[in-house]
Symmetry: C2
Subunit: 250 residues, 2 copies
């Protein structure tokens, strides 16, 4: 049988039905705190629960494209803003029973976004909101989304160490202090300002100077700060390591 004949005779329906979805863990920093994008489910199962934005992958759609589409739909953002968002595959979740309706395998994505406007402007999803991560423990999410969020957070923290993705939480131009605030927020503890400054400038390709400075000093005083933009490095060498957390996973 030739390959053509084989394909013509092939019956895809002979296989058990499995649905494939994408879910996106979208992180941003608002008012100095890490926030997560959630939508409220309108229907069963888990009606009225908050969940990660996501949905079915369309028949001729690539996985990455599906994740980007879901993110755009849920945030109500056009390509312009979305261009600055970093989107990467996180992991896949397919334990039988994770969706009570049928077998669903979900490909989770992780997104780093600059401070975006309030979500849900003109989307088909009902409510959407940025939830401060500090408020997450008191909220039960639909499906296994709590686990997915936890995995995404850990990935995000690790990624700040060896990639310049922290800059994706900021605008086009930023100060070293802005960048430090990102690290402090995501890692959850303060860093030594002087050492951070030295380190950031010493890592090749992390940031490059714009030559300009802020218009004014900080709101509580201090000199104008120099402005930088993201550099061209994809990986940081040497990495910006998190301060040892004592027995980090023995």
């Amino acid at each position: 049988m030739s390959e053509e004949q084989y394909l013509a005779a092939y019956d895809p329906r002979a296989y058990p039905a499995v649905a494939v979805t994408v879910d996106v863990v979208t992180l941003t920093i608002r008012e100095g705190a890490l926030h997560l994008l959630l939508v409220r489910r309108a229907e069963q199962p888990y009606a009225d629960f908050w969940a990660l934005p996501g949905g079915f992958v369309r028949p001729a759609e690539d996985l990455d494209a599906a994740a980007g589409r879901e993110l755009a739909e849920e945030t109500g953002l056009g390509g312009e803003d979305l261009h600055r968002v970093h989107l990467e595959q996180l992991a896949s979740y397919g334990t039988p029973g994770r969706d009570p309706r049928m077998r669903v395998v979900s490909i989770a994505y992780l997104a780093f976004a600059p401070d975006l406007p309030e979500p849900s402007a003109g989307t088909d999803a009902g409510e959407a909101e940025w939830l401060p991560l500090a408020a997450l423990p008191s909220r039960r999410l639909a499906f296994d989304h709590e686990r997915i969020v936890a995995d995404g957070l850990e990935r995000a923290r690790a990624k700040l160490e060896y990639t310049p993705l922290a800059t994706r939480f900021l605008g086009e131009e930023f100060t070293i202090a802005d960048l430090r605030a990102v690290y402090e927020t995501v890692w959850g503890h303060p860093l030594h300002a002087g050492n951070f400054h030295r380190k950031v400038l010493s890592v090749p390709g992390l940031v490059e100077s714009t030559g300009a400075t802020t218009e004014h000093g900080g709101p509580r005083g201090g000199p104008r700060a120099r402005l930088y933009r993201a550099g061209d490095a994809r990986l940081l060498h040497p990495a910006l390591l998190r301060p040892a957390t004592e027995e980090t996973a023995r």
Copy 2:
């Protein structure tokens, strides 16, 4: 996502069929060289091509379990040997058209195995073999498996840096030189024996002494070496960093 999910809940078959498979990138070290487990495809498409072992996820089977099952089937190993194999999810691949038959989303896994016997003992797959990675460039694999292998290799190299998984390539007991050989093989360049030795013993939880030594010296001379077993660390602090590779991904 409303009408679509509604329909899905009542008639899964109403959905465009998507098949979910697992593929496993299995690495081992044989005769001082990194090897990859491959099987030869007996059927269309890509008949006679070599491919990663893998197959369809069964209806009530977890993804991890499916990967473990495929690995066991293909290597012909029982639970005893498989217990020492490290298996983790690598990434998912679902570009439309990657399988000419239908939409197939594949969850790829990465496995680190100690030196295993020749594969394919009594399996349903036709041929199976350990391919030295050095021979890979001259061989075309089925589907997008070359890409998956490349991703798996990069992940493996990175994992050696911050996890004790190098020990998974070795037996229960090993010498520091054995461990160094694993790093040199996977990373592809020699390491300074003295510095490696100092570093391995200084990282908490990487290895622990058994108190014993090898029975004899090396085949070409040298003293007996002390034996160690894997420690209890899951993450290495500080990490065993690869020597800077000059512009690693600028």
